[in-house]
Symmetry: C2
Subunit: 82 residues, 2 copies
């Protein structure tokens, strides 16, 4: 079966997010007010072929842990769909 794993990788809450700060500055320069904070992360969609949802989730977890997220400064969330 084919599953889709949606993985969200975000910088940890208590760490600085320089990319977010830069975008924040850009928004102010554009005259867009009312935005108090910007945080930027990655969004990854994996198409996984697996026997069932549990195995698909394990594969997505392994991919996130080994390659996609750096646990020292990022957190990740995985959602599995079909």
């Amino acid at each position: 079966m084919i599953f889709t794993a949606q993985i969200k990788v975000m910088p940890l809450k208590n760490l600085l997010d320089p990319q977010g700060k830069a975008v924040m500055g850009g928004l102010v320069n554009l005259g867009l007010t009312g935005v108090n904070d910007v945080r930027i992360g990655k969004y990854i969609e994996l198409t996984i072929e697996a026997e069932n949802e549990t195995i698909a989730k394990e594969k997505a977890e392994e991919a996130a842990k080994k390659l996609l997220a750096n646990a020292v400064m990022e957190m990740y969330e995985i959602q599995i769909g079909q």
Copy 2:
């Protein structure tokens, strides 16, 4: 009121995603099988101060259109929460 806008920016479906292809190669090198496709985008969280949800969504749309997404090669989705 404070709203959170979650903006997902992804490369258009019919365009190549070189970053995704690179990650795909990395997963194969790690010995992780069963992943057929990888697509990588950005995930942006804006904290917006606005009178109501409609205004917050308008601000998020404006930010996405003017700064966060490149309409020629990317699509975006916005979700507003509190």
